[in-house]
Amino acid sequence: METLERILAEHPLFKGLDPKYLKIVVGCASNIRFEPEQVIYKEGDPAEKFFLIREGKIGLEINIPHRGSIAIQTVNSGDILGWSWLMPPYKWRFTARVYEPTRAIALDGACLRRKCEEDHALGYEFYRRFADIIVQRLQATRLQLLDVYGHHTERQK
């Protein structure tokens, strides 16, 4: 049987993490399921958790007046959902809506934040590991902003 500890230890986010810190993470983790169209969190809500998606698909949406909700990114199996819990003002920037039945591990971000304050080595590990994800998404967002399939750059061959 897969234990939370094993799943977390093998996840790229926590791979190689000192066992004493992994124990802290496991203590803040719980299994969770979401159904399609369920809203996990809304833009502006306090960001107290984050999620390791084990299976499923979640859309990050933003509401634009007169245009409705627009999805700007989806997170899928193996991805991390949410980093607003780590940075002030600890509020969600987007709404997370479930697109496909989803199994995830929820982590108590508020609790981990306190642990990071108490032990800066743990805090460094979290910021370093999340920085990787943030950089990856920033680069993807920049490419998205270029609107590469727009008329100005489209290949016509």
């Binding site: 698909k57 859309g59 990050l60 949406e61 409705g68 627009i70 999805a71 700007i72 990114q73 989806t74 899928n76 199996s77 193996g78 697109y99 496909e100 680069q139 993807a140 490419l143 998205q144 270029l146 609107d147 590469v148 399939y149 727009g150 008329h151 750059t153 489209e154 290949r155 016509q156 061959k157």
Partner: protein, 278 residues
């Protein structure tokens, strides 16, 4: 297959046999030779010069099935020639020169996993390769198609993509840059699909086609996965005019894109790709 163009500078008359609207600005023309032979031999990845009489000539990739030789071109309206082409009706005549250029390495990919990464109308030049792989399915490992489009309305060959996705021997992932309305598929750039795509990087060949900036980012992700530079192939677009390497309009460093390309192995052109002056 070798290109057949004994008189490469003289357009041959073809009649439009079918016109199909793909998206709001993209259409597909099926052409038949006015001389009776409706078959045109080409290799996946090659292009033709299409001549709208009285307007001009443009290079357009062949996007049909190479095994039946039907001449099919998918085109996006971006300039005067393609705008005029978009107004052609069944029975109208168009000039065709070609096929020209280097093909996708479909033979060399045998026994390997094939990773196709494409975006926008870049799917059109890759469709013949995909037809070829599917026709010779047993000779390849995993076949993965990663396709990115601007929005769900811009997805090319939607019906065919659905059919391909339903197959058990083909892995298809589609993503859009903007998820509007009831779209519940992937949202994000196509490069985000590469890290988790199921293929053996050490025994894989990747075929990439799309806007050049998208291809550059795609290559970075493919290299990160471990695909060797020599196994990544890109289809480039330059200002092809003559199609046979004489006029020099499509010069790309020491290469003529029309003759030495459009399909290049990445290791052959990597130093040129990021040079602004080229």
């Amino acid at each position: 297959m070798k290109a057949r163009h004994s008189e490469p500078m003289i357009p041959q008359p073809f009649r439009v046999a079918k016109v199909q609207k793909e998206t709001f600005d993209t259409f597909t023309l099926q052409l038949k030779s006015s001389k009776g032979n409706g078959v045109s031999h080409f290799s996946p990845g090659q292009f033709n010069m299409l001549y709208v009489f009285g307007v001009g000539e443009v290079p357009i990739s062949i996007s049909g099935d190479p095994s039946n030789g039907t001449l099919i071109h998918t085109t996006r309206v971006v300039g005067n020639v393609t705008k005029a082409m978009g107004k052609l009706k069944v029975g109208d005549v168009i000039g065709v020169r070609g096929p020209f250029g280097t093909p996708w390495p479909v033979e060399n990919a045998k026994g390997k996993d094939v990773v196709i990464v494409t975006g926008g109308i870049g799917l059109a030049p890759l469709r013949p390769a995909l037809y070829y792989f599917l026709k010779h399915r047993d000779e390849y490992g995993k076949i993965v198609l990663l396709y990115g489009a601007r929005s769900k309305e811009d997805i090319l060959y939607r019906r065919e993509l659905e059919q391909w996705r339903a197959r058990f021997d083909l892995e298809v992932h589609v993503t859009v840059d903007r998820g509007t309305g009831n779209w519940r598929g992937n949202v994000g750039v196509v490069t985000m699909l590469i890290p988790k795509a199921p293929f053996d990087a050490h025994n894989a060949v990747s075929l990439v086609c799309g806007p050049e900036i998208m291809m550059r980012f795609t290559v970075l992700e493919l290299l990160k996965r471990g695909i060797p530079e020599s196994k990544i192939f890109l289809s480039l677009e330059r200002n092809m005019k003559c199609g046979i390497g004489h006029c020099g309009h499509c010069q790309f460093g020491p290469h003529f894109t029309c003759k030495d390309g459009p399909v290049f192995p990445y290791d052959q052109i990597k130093d040129l790709l990021e040079k602004r002056e080229i």
